[in-house]
């Protein structure tokens, strides 16, 4: 990615522009299938990160576009239903991909100072899949949310 292009970057236009930039000049090569994570790997990653606690569905909302033309940069927003007070807040949020070579995509540490349990970033997606987000609350409970995106051009992380 050359500097001139990136310098044009503007927060208000970020998504479209970054998608366009991400596709430029990438070299893809064949890649052994063994390095692609499975749903089981995402489950294992959740266990590694959060232990054996029960995962409850709900409270976590994952926003992804329904279709991503380019898997190299897909905007994602994770919102957790929490008052974010001194006694009731979100401690951690993790984003997991069942199809990327590494199931863990990102982990975020929050706290009562965050004020609002919402995080947005851009991720790579190696093909159409259901991204999971797990949140750990201050009381130790674990919540999971999911969202799917159809990826028409997969990220070059798998080839």
């Amino acid at each position: 990615m050359d500097t001139a292009q990136t310098d044009k970057f503007n927060f208000s236009l970020s998504r479209r522009r970054m998608l366009a930039l991400g596709s430029a000049g990438l070299v893809c090569a064949a890649f052994p299938l063994s390095s692609v994570a499975e749903a089981a790997d995402a489950d294992k990653a959740i266990k590694d990160l959060f232990g054996d606690g029960e995962l409850q569905e709900g409270r976590v909302t994952v926003d992804l576009p329904p279709i991503a033309e380019n898997g190299n940069s897909v905007a994602i927003k994770v919102t957790v239903d929490s008052p974010m007070t001194e006694t009731d807040y979100v401690k951690r949020i993790a984003i997991l991909s069942p199809r990327n070579p590494i199931a863990e995509v990102a982990e975020f540490q929050l706290g009562p100072r965050a004020g609002k349990a919402e995080v947005a970033t851009r991720i790579r997606m190696a093909g159409t899949q259901t991204i999971r987000a797990v949140a750990e609350m201050s009381d130790g409970t674990l919540w999971i949310g999911k969202a799917s995106t159809v990826v028409t051009l997969a990220a070059c992380i798998i080839g």
Partner: protein
């Protein structure tokens, strides 16, 4: 290294403010190959930390699944006037940081 921060200069006490941080970095996954078929070495930013008046308010750990030029939007509650510091550390331990002064009325 280009860093872009978007944060308000002033806020009311108790207000929840939006912070945006972008750093220019290839986030090379280690799975791509160059045109000679050789694997391009992994080169990623591993952690990001935001402190407010010295106290850590938000931390992120990145894996290769984060897109090039890591971009984050998160929030904090304005408490006192102080400095927001945004710090990125790559896998080799190199760090980049940027600060932003926040005035709380």
């Amino acid at each position: 290294m280009s860093i872009r921060i978007s944060a308000p200069d002033t806020a009311r006490k108790g207000e929840v403010i939006e912070l945006k941080a972008l750093i220019q970095h290839p986030m090379e996954t280690g799975y791509r190959r160059n045109n000679r078929g050789e694997v391009i070495e992994r080169d990623i930013i591993k952690t990001f930390k935001c402190t407010y008046d010295g106290e850590t308010i938000f931390e992120a750990t990145f894996h290769p699944g984060i897109a090039a030029n890591p971009f984050l939007t998160f929030y904090t509650r304005a408490t006192t006037s102080g400095t927001l510091e945004f710090r990125w550390t790559d896998q080799k331990g190199e760090t980049w940081s940027e600060t932003h002064a926040l005035t709380v009325e």
